[in-house]
């Protein structure tokens, strides 16, 4: 059996899992309209305050040597190591790092007058970013870097379960992170995919996504004594491709449907909720509702956590799994923030307010550019 263990979330809503879970229970929203340093107009985004990060990171290392994403990642991984007491230099321990764009902000350092930091431009290469993390924690193995668009985080967790099941490792730390950058904001804006107000997943009036930054880390393990935080196992996971379009989801939800089928779900009644991808773009949410209906999951309540955090890209799958584990532990369904009126054609049931519920398992899903989809099933042991 493969277990979920200790976790961390660093986001605009806090620097630990418990701070984040409490903030979400208090219905705090991490996205707001602000004017970013590189922009003249306001964007509705989830931003981690630089000063707060610097204060937190200063005791751990030189803030001028590490990029923002490296600092966030080191803080997040350190928290999980402190809680679990695992030995990163052990041959049987691996780090899988999930990101879409890594240190993409330093790509502009050559042209922009950003003289505050002396970061080696090589660190825009993802394996150079993870090399810094490996050196910091003295990991025995070179970290595995997974960059598979918006399914990266959940796919990294599925991969961790698979590596352990195969007997290759005992402990796999999965860390997912992405930062806000002019690069991604301008790109999503060119797609007309951004909402200027807090996003409204699955709602009739949804117009697009908010971008957010976050790093989240979870330890996946075969050691029963490390299962304490959630007493939950990673049961199964699958990914599938729509084979339909590189930037738009299948209208019939083919890849997500195939991923859900491949979970080999035996007892739907046990599943307390589905943590959907729910980016709040018209096409994505519509597609998900169709896939859930096709998979016969119409009675299982659904939420999207994007209303609280925006889309945190490579962090999303990890962050949303961690909050869902809290939800399972506390037997509490989290409201799908931003949802008011049903705006999708698939027959699904949204979670409209926080509520207590007795349940044993949940499903996490994600879908992304390149036609990729993934789903994973978690269950109490």
């Amino acid at each position: 059996m493969i277990f979920t263990s200790y976790t961390n979330i660093i986001s605009p809503l806090g620097f630990s899992t418990s701070e984040n879970y409490q903030a979400v229970l208090d219905s705090k929203v991490g996205v707001k309209k602000i004017i970013l340093p590189f922009a003249t107009e306001a964007f509705c985004v989830g931003k981690i305050e630089d000063e707060q990060l610097s204060q937190r990171f200063a005791p751990l290392g030189n803030i001028d040597f590490y990029t923002k994403l490296e600092q966030l990642s080191i803080l997040s991984i350190q928290d999980v190591i402190d809680q679990s007491g695992i030995d990163t230099s052990d041959e049987r321990t691996l780090l899988i790092y999930s990101t879409t764009k890594g240190n993409i902000d330093i790509l502009s350092f050559d042209s922009a007058q950003d003289g505050k930091k002396r970061i080696d431009p090589k660190r825009v290469y993802l394996s150079e970013l993870t090399k810094q993390i490996q050196l910091y924690f003295k990991f025995a193995h070179t970290p595995v870097v997974l960059s598979n668009a918006c399914i990266s985080g959940i796919l990294a967790i599925i991969m961790a379960q698979r590596f352990i099941e195969q007997g290759i490792y005992d402990n796999v730390l999965v860390s997912g992170g992405d930062i806000l950058s002019e690069f991604t904001i301008s790109g999503f804006k060119s797609f007309n995919a951004l909402s200027s107000e807090p996003s409204k997943p699955f709602d009739a009036n949804r117009v697009g996504i908010n971008l957010g930054e976050a790093v989240s880390t979870i330890l996946i393990t075969n050691k029963k004594e490390l299962a304490i935080p959630y007493n939950t196992q990673v049961v199964s996971g699958a990914s599938a491709n729509d084979a339909n379009h590189i930037s738009g989801p299948s209208r019939t939800g083919d890849g997500l449907f195939q991923s859900l089928q491949n979970l080999q779900l035996k007892n739907k009644d046990e599943v307390g909720f589905i943590s959907a991808h729910g980016t709040a773009t018209p096409f994505n949410d519509e597609m998900e509702s169709i896939a859930f209906e096709r998979a016969g999951l119409t009675k299982i309540p659904v939420n999207s956590l994007k209303g609280y955090y925006g889309h945190t890209l490579g962090a999303a799958g990890v962050l949303e799994t961690v909050l869902s584990l809290e939800s399972l532990k506390n037997q509490q369904l989290i409201k799908s923030e931003g949802y008011e009126t049903k705006g999708v054609s698939g027959n699904i049931t949204m979670i409209e307010k926080h509520q207590s519920k007795s349940f044993l398992s949940f499903i996490k899903t994600a879908s992304g550019f390149g036609g990729c989809n993934a789903a994973a099933l978690f269950r109490k042991i």
Binding site: V145, N148, F163, E182
Partner: protein, 215 residues
Amino acid sequence: MSYITSYAHIKNNQVSVNGTIVFASDKTASLSEFLSAAYKFLGISYPKFHKMDAQCKLGFLCTEFALKDSDFLISNDLSKIGIILSNSASSLETDRQHQLSISDKSNYFPSPAVFVYTLPNIVIGEIAIRHKITGENAFFVSEKLDAELLDNYTRILMNAATEAVIEGWTEVDRSHYEAFIFLVETQENRNKSSIFKPLKQSNILELYNQTTWTH
């Protein structure tokens, strides 16, 4: 038992299939000239090819060459074929292009047609769309071809629901480019021209180093 049944390797303006160079452009040809010539040589008609960025064109072509004389797509269930690709620069070449389009506020022209290619796994989507392959996906970023990781993860997938895998490396980074794609399947490939090597790290590396490049 899983076998590598075919592979293609592209670098230095040459295409090698199963160890033999089947196509070459003049070594002074640019990457885009070479990619267009290799596409013409293949003799396929696929309009979507022309919209792709260089990295997708390269990975797409390398896959087409690996599949060309193989019955891989006929003998395996398309919903159970996985695609696992990797490289070291992610989508950096197209990232630079997008960055250039936003670096000057007086000449600001970010384009969705460019931005969509700023994710390394888009090439997986392009290959999937071309052949309606809907199985497992993964894009790894590693400093160099990580035969151990590819071998391990393929083995893991093939111990479960996956029947066959298209995998390897595809990278474009400034003037440097290279693609190496190999096919892994469980049943005997019936095509006589194909190679037949048990899947293991040393065989991946042997095939990677097998071609004698003429320039």
